[in-house]
């Protein structure tokens, strides 16, 4: 995957993507929107993805494997994901440090887990299994948190570092999620940004959040429905300055704007990346 800017490919932008020649250099799709029970999946979504795949490097981003659930992974889901990965041979495959399924119910949200020795072991087992089935490395994304589970024994970064060490997986580092979680839990986003080992990061996510205030309590919600916030751009700049250029995705999932808005966000990321690529080569 090139260390340049990409966007999440939404179906309303398929045609624009096919004709674009701007700052968008790669695309990401959600695995579940293309997964099928059929051996030979078909339909417009797939026709488009086949076509865009020829034009752009592809990242497949899973949102529903529920690696954090303390129960066996859904075998159908894993099969579907494998079929998809086999068909499209993406440059990157990723999932979340979260859970979304329990006892046959799918909640369609990325829910938090306590960071404990037991949950780490469970999570590592599931990542091992996934990587084994897919026959490749996956990246795991840090989530946006709205609450802190009581029994947590370690920091999120310690959990993730140990996860990468034990399983060989990489990180999908979401700078907006770091900011949202830090604001919501009263911790230091910059410290997290400065501590994350750059070598572990295979991809960066950027997105916009929404501020929600109820009864004087402020919560930031990771809505993927707004421009990337200035504070998040600053954190991103800080990260890239330290660790160098990385593939960076602009995510926009709700109230999806015109393609041009996404191109302009990708252009902003590309400026940061280009500047640091230049610096990087100047240092050599």
């Amino acid at each position: 995957m090139p260390a340049s800017a990409g966007i999440g490919a939404k179906s309303q932008h398929f045609e624009a993507l096919a004709c674009a020649s701007g700052p968008v250099k790669w695309i990401e799709v959600h695995a579940e929107n293309y997964m099928s029970r059929d051996v030979k999946p078909g339909g417009p979504h797939h026709s488009w993805l086949e076509r865009l795949r020829e034009q752009y490097p592809l990242s497949i981003h899973g949102v529903g494997l529920s690696l954090g659930s303390p129960e066996p992974l859904d075998p159908d889901h894993l099969d579907g994901l494998k079929r998809l990965v086999d068909i499209y041979q993406p440059a990157l495959v990723s999932e979340h440090l979260a859970w979304s399924r329990w006892q046959g119910k799918f909640f369609n949200d990325l829910l938090p887990i306590p960071y404990t020795a037991a949950s780490l072991e469970n999570f590592c087992d599931h990542v091992d299994q996934t990587q084994e089935v897919l026959g490749r490395q996956i990246l795991i994304e840090n989530p946006s948190a709205y609450l802190s589970p009581k029994d947590t024994e370690m920091s999120e970064l310690d959990f993730l570092s140990e996860l990468t060490r034990r399983t060989g997986c990489g990180l999908l580092f979401d700078v907006n999620n770091v900011y949202v979680s830090a604001k919501n839990s009263g911790t230091d986003a910059a410290a997290y940004i400065d501590a994350v080992p750059g070598a572990l990061i295979g991809e960066v996510h950027l997105a916009g959040f929404t501020r929600d205030v109820t009864d004087t309590i402020e919560i930031l919600i990771d809505t993927h429905g707004a421009l990337v916030h200035d504070d998040v751009w600053q954190l991103y700049n800080r990260l890239i300055e330290r660790v160098g250029a990385l593939p960076t995705l602009i995510e926009w999932d709700t109230d999806v704007p015109e393609f041009g808005v996404l191109e302009s966000e990708a252009g902003l990321a590309e400026r940061v990346l280009g500047f640091n690529r230049m610096l990087g080569s100047a240092h050599v």
Partner: protein, 94 residues
């Protein structure tokens, strides 16, 4: 070939065979035109066709739209259904 069997339903069999031949002859050019590719889904939509839009997709984002999940209120349908003749909006009072 079983000629007796053929004789019994010859009329239908012949008409089916003829119909198929006619149908193929009639549609051969259309079938080729239909392969024009998916650009056509962004062209003028044929009657009864409205795909090529997002549809139910996943998101890995949260939402700020507050969705009341309670039953503090009970609404009645208030969309285009009241324009349908005979589409009564009378509540059953429950």
């Amino acid at each position: 070939m079983n000629t007796q069997k053929l004789a019994v339903k010859s009329v239908t069999a012949l008409s089916v065979a003829g119909a198929m031949a006619a149908a193929i002859a009639l549609t051969a050019p259309t079938a080729h035109a239909a392969k024009a590719g998916m650009e056509k889904c962004y062209g003028v939509a044929a009657a009864g066709q409205n795909d090529c839009k997002a549809g139910a997709g996943t998101t890995c984002a949260g939402t700020s739209t507050v969705d009341s999940q309670g039953n503090a209120w009970l609404l009645v349908p208030n969309g285009t259904c009241d324009k349908l003749t005979g589409g009564s909006l009378e509540s059953d009072g429950s």
